[in-house]
Structures are given as C-alpha cells and as structure tokens.
C-alpha cells in the first residue's frame, strides 16, 4: 500500500503553519521529502484570508490587534477563515503534482481528498457530503472548508474541520459582506455553519478528532501513514519563510 509521511498534530502560530506548508512543498519539489499529511492547530487563534482577498476588507484588524489574534494571507484562494485554537483542527496534504490524488480536474481532486474528511466524520458517527467546489456539509450546513494551490511542482490542499463554533467571535473578527451572507436568503450563519459538537450534542475531545482524521484520511485515500517530524532543512526553510514572508505586512497586506 502506498505510504505517506504523517506529521502528528502540533500547535504553531499562523506564520509558522503557513511557512511549514510551503517549506514541505519546496522539499517535495527537490525530492527531499515524501508526500506528507499534517495536522495542526493555530495558537494564537488566527484569521487567514484567501490569496485574492484584501486583508483590510475581510478582517477587523483593530479587533485582532486588541485581542492578540493573528491575521495572515494564504497562498491558496478561497475565503476568510477564523482558526479558533479551541475550535478546529486544520490539515494539509502536500503531494507531487504527478500524484494520483492531483488529477488535472481540480474539482475532482477536491472530491478525492475531501473524502478523507467525510471518512473521518463517519468514524465519529456523522454522515457528511462533499459539496463542490470545496466544502464538506452535514445536511445544509458547512463543517469544513478547503483550499488548493498547485505550485512548486506540488499540490497543497489544506482545510479546517470545525469541532466547536464561536459565532460571536467569528463575526467580530471577520467582515462579511451582505451579498455573501444573504445567499439563498439565509442571513444567519448558524443556519449555514455547524460543528462536530453541535451535531453530536456532546463534548468531543481534540484527541478524538485527531485520531479520526488520521484514520479517515488513511482509509479514504488508500494510504498507510508513518509518523515522522520535519527535517532540519524543512525546519530551517520554514523559519526563514515565517520571518521573511508570512509575518510581513508586504505579504499579508499586499492587496
């Protein structure tokens, strides 16, 4: 069975997390790293915006600064996401561009990889569906958002899985335009977004979700994961990227 490196659940800052993603891509490009699946949390809690968004449009910067919430621009498209340390686990999958999970059909690719989340949720006793382009929904409500980029001869797909949702905090951090919120005449985010805790109506430990994600992705993608850490070289690249790119205003506020 095909093998994949697993980087076990770790907690890092927003800048480190995005830097690690790119550092792994660069290592995979050089043939120095294998296909990799990683799980992570964000501390401090942070908001990330898609690569085509404007930070000032999407994020209440004053609120974030006052409440020590980090804000960062991703290299992937998509929307603004609040990464609550207490509310979600994020995964990243990094593959060579030629990998079978990176077909030219991008939406097909989203479906293949998001099957890992559907599988993980099933392990937790939840029925969910992949909703193209890039969502996982439980009924009508979104529980996971995902985003992909293809660069450095790699595919990177990362996404969040909501364990718990602090709607109040989310709306304080994000500026959501009316045009988007009133899609299908539904203005209340509680009708459009849900969390694992809300669906199961019980306390769910991070450990439960972590274990389900590792097993879910392994089963759905047909891969065997072996746990490793970043190489020295990847760590050093990640440090440099965090410092020189991801924590800079030049990158984050460039649009």
């Amino acid at each position: 069975m095909e093998e994949m490196r697993l980087l076990e659940l770790e907690t890092h800052s927003a800048f480190e997390n995005m830097a690690i993603d790119e550092a792994i891509m660069l290592a995979v490009k050089e043939g120095e790293a294998p296909p990799t699946f990683r799980l992570y949390r964000w501390r401090p809690s942070a908001v990330s915006i898609g690569t085509f968004q404007s930070m000032k449009d999407e994020v209440d910067l004053a609120f974030c600064q006052k409440n020590r919430i980090d804000y960062i621009r991703r290299i992937t498209g998509g929307g603004a996401v609040y990464h609550d340390y207490d509310g979600e686990i994020t995964y990243s999958l990094i593959l060579p561009r030629t990998h079978r999970l990176a077909p030219d059909d991008i939406i097909e690719s989203y479906g293949m990889i998001c099957a890992g989340i559907v599988s993980a949720l099933k392990i937790l006793g939840i029925d969910s569906q992949f909703k193209p382009i890039n969502d996982i929904v439980i009924g009508e409500k979104k529980v996971s958002g995902n985003a992909q980029t293809r660069r450095h001869s790699c595919l990177l797909q990362h996404g969040t899985v909501l364990l718990d949702l602090d709607v109040v905090k989310m709306f304080q951090v994000l500026k959501v335009p009316a045009e988007k919120v009133s899609d299908k005449m539904i203005a209340d985010v509680k009708q459009r977004v849900t969390s694992i805790k809300e669906v199961l109506q019980r306390e769910v430990l991070f450990e439960e979700l972590r274990a389900a994600l590792v097993r879910g992705f392994a089963e759905a993608l047909g891969i065997e994961m072996y746990a490793r850490t970043l190489s020295q070289s990847e760590e050093s690249t990640a440090r440099r990227l965090a410092e020189e790119k991801y924590s800079t205003a030049e990158w984050n506020l460039s649009r």
Partner: protein, 102 residues
C-alpha cells in the same frame, strides 16, 4: 487654487449564483480603466494570473466585448483555470462597478 481631479474608487461586490464572490475596485478616466483590483474568494490557477489579468485591463474600454476578450486572452496564454467564477462574472462585476458612478 489648482483643482486636482480625483478619480473616485468604484467598487462592486458581485455574487456569482451558486459560486463565489468577485469584488472589483477600480478607477476610471472617462471610459478607460486606470486602475483595477479583482478580489474575491474564488480560485485561480496559477494564482499569479490575477496580476496579468489586472494589468491587461488597464487602459481598456468599458465594453463587454473588449473586457471579455482581454481576460480570455490572458487566461488562454497562461493556461489558467478559474474556479467559482467565470471571465463573464468578472466582466459583469467590472461593468456594475463602472455604472455605479464615481
């Protein structure tokens, strides 16, 4: 006192039915685009194509035909793929932003 003409920023949020949001911010000089930013939560591969699209629209007339041809030409040359929006959606957003008045 010399009056400096300020081009008001024209903005429009275009929600693609069943898709993503395209936000256009631009300045016009009479009928031509003098600055433009195409923002949103769509996907574009490769991502850098957005800059090429924006640059190619500078000096463009506000005709649907010209705008669409410009964007499609850039997309084709870059072998680019837009997901969650189409070139037509971007053109719609531009024309809506233009009609808003400075």
């Amino acid at each position: 006192m010399e009056l400096i003409e300020v081009n008001a920023l024209r903005e429009y949020n275009y929600k693609v039915p069943g898709g993503k949001l395209v936000r256009v911010k631009m300045e016009l000089d009479d009928e031509n685009i003098t600055s433009i930013q195409i923002l949103g939560d769509f996907f574009l591969h490769p991502e850098e194509t957005i800059y090429t699209i924006e640059e190619s629209l500078l000096g463009s007339k506000l005709s649907r035909k010209d705008l669409l041809r410009g964007i499609n030409s850039v997309m084709k040359e870059a072998s680019a793929e837009l997901i969650g929006a189409t070139p037509e959606d971007i053109v719609n957003a531009i024309l809506k932003a233009a009609s808003r008045g400075g």
